[in-house]
Subunit: 303 residues, 2 copies
């Protein structure tokens, strides 16, 4: 047992996957869970997702060795204030938010001195949300980034690392600001771009939604998967990782304009060179085991 | 048998999939294939991809009832000039290019009066290229768009339609200019955007390629699949569907700027509304059978 009692606050895709993954590895003694909505708590009870479901976050954290904040980033400060008086001395508080500087600023001031606060972020997910979206394999061979503050107790960090490794993840440590920049590239900017493209397609007068749907297999449908992700979670990501996201979007726009100009002027060599270069990154991702090499993601085909 | 002899010019992903699909349905008498590169022709021979492989396109089309041009759009005009004198009277010429107005303009003038020319475009593909990338199921439940010119022989159109239906596709007819606009939305603009984002990630100094690769599961890797598509084919798509692509990219940029402004000003309501609206299109695509509902495209997971 790495922890005797783990409290999960918020029971969406990540928390429910943690339940399954912690049980698969027999990693913890008791899993206590709670969620703001009664509907979610009832599903958790019906499905035996956790060992115990409490009505409030304050109640959930009592005597927990590890408290995991699994709520949208914008809800973290209020939640931290609510649970702080009930945290057990020596406990560890972590989170799974997609932005790290904002979480440190929102949660940090509320955490008592005798509690370890070690922010984290699993680089894994799907476009599905809610307590029934989770599955034990979500973190397998994915990275989990820990963002410990200077001076954090090394033993507490090691224990949390072991939990994530037990759930299948490769754990790395990173500085919060660098994390937010890297994720702006690998996640936040791509999500905003996908949302934008899907919104544009939905909004055109000369092309019907039915046409967009029927002919989506030509590439567009990949964007719609990302653009089906949880709206509140993503609203909070952009509001709390504003600077890095805007920086990357600025670079993106600059590059897009250069490619548009190449199209307009008929500069085929520029286009072909650019499109050849981008193939290498795909190869790197497949070789690193971070995506399948099956054509079209192996979508619904059996070969 | 829908056709006695079909000639495929160019043996990449689409043509090789047609070979497998035509054989699966026992749809044609003989499949003749050719490709510009000797390497490709040798693979076709080694794999028995076609019934017969010829050295030249001119040779391949002799006595063919159907000739399918499966080369990049930019190569169509030269190819059409080369095969025109060798086409059998009463034969049909079609293509599988991603742009239709440019193909009509490039190929049309070369086609003799006694030959039917019916441009077409299968809305199906993967990021893989070449004669070994094909598989029989590629067109199953995907759409195939035929773009017959006014006055085209109805029986010839019907016969070509039957071939594509036999290969599993749903066939629809569409005007060439509308096709090019619809595909700019569902395919060409998304591809350019994906290429751009991947290029930006590759080019940042403050984030290493290794970080991009390792943390790509957060969304970015979806873009890299699209950005691994054939560079020459895509160069030609953008050069030949310039106006529609630039129009859609203009709309995209406008919308992206509005969302960037919402991020900058902290307008969470605008973001959340936008992100909620885009979920509906995803549902439509899944309900229309144009994508899997499995989380994360069902990528490499067994559940």
């Amino acid at each position: 047992m790495i922890y005797n009692r783990v409290a999960l606050i918020g029971l969406g895709l990540i928390a429910s996957s943690m339940c399954h993954a912690m049980r698969r590895g027999n990693l913890v003694g008791e899993i206590v869970g709670t969620a703001r909505s009664e509907e979610t708590r009832q599903i958790a009870r019906d499905d035996d997702l956790c060992d115990r479901v409490t009505e409030t976050a304050a109640e959930a954290v009592i005597d927990a060795d590890l408290v995991v904040l699994c709520v949208p980033v914008g809800a973290m400060a209020t939640l931290a204030a609510e649970i702080a008086p009930h945290l057990r001395p020596g406990a560890t508080v972590t989170d799974v938010g997609s932005v790290k500087r904002a979480v440190m600023d929102a949660v940090g001031p509320h955490v008592p001195d005798d509690v370890h606060f070690i922010p984290g972020h699993p680089i894994a997910g799907t476009e599905k949300s809610g307590p029934r979206a989770g599955f034990a394999e979500l973190f397998d061979n994915r990275f989990h980034l820990l963002v410990p503050r200077p001076g954090t107790d090394a033993a507490a960090v090691m224990r949390l690392r072991q939990l994530w490794e037990g759930m299948g993840a490769n754990v790395e440590e990173m500085d919060a600001d660098h994390h937010d920049l890297v994720l702006a590239v690998t996640s936040h900017a791509p999500h905003l771009i996908a949302y934008t493209m899907v919104g544009v397609a939905d909004d055109l007068r000369r092309v019907t939604d039915s046409e967009v749907v029927r002919y989506s297999a030509a590439g567009f449908r990949d964007f719609t998967r990302i653009a089906a992700s949880d709206p509140v979670m993503w609203r909070d990501v952009f509001l709390t990782n504003k600077d890095a996201t805007l920086e990357i979007l600025g670079r993106f726009t600059e590059e897009l304009f250069a490619l548009q100009r190449a199209i307009r002027t008929g500069d085929g060599a520029h286009l072909q060179n650019y499109f050849t270069r981008t193939r290498a990154i795909r190869r790197g991702i497949v070789e690193a085991g971070q995506d399948t090499d099956a054509p079209d993601f192996g979508r619904g085909r059996t070969r």
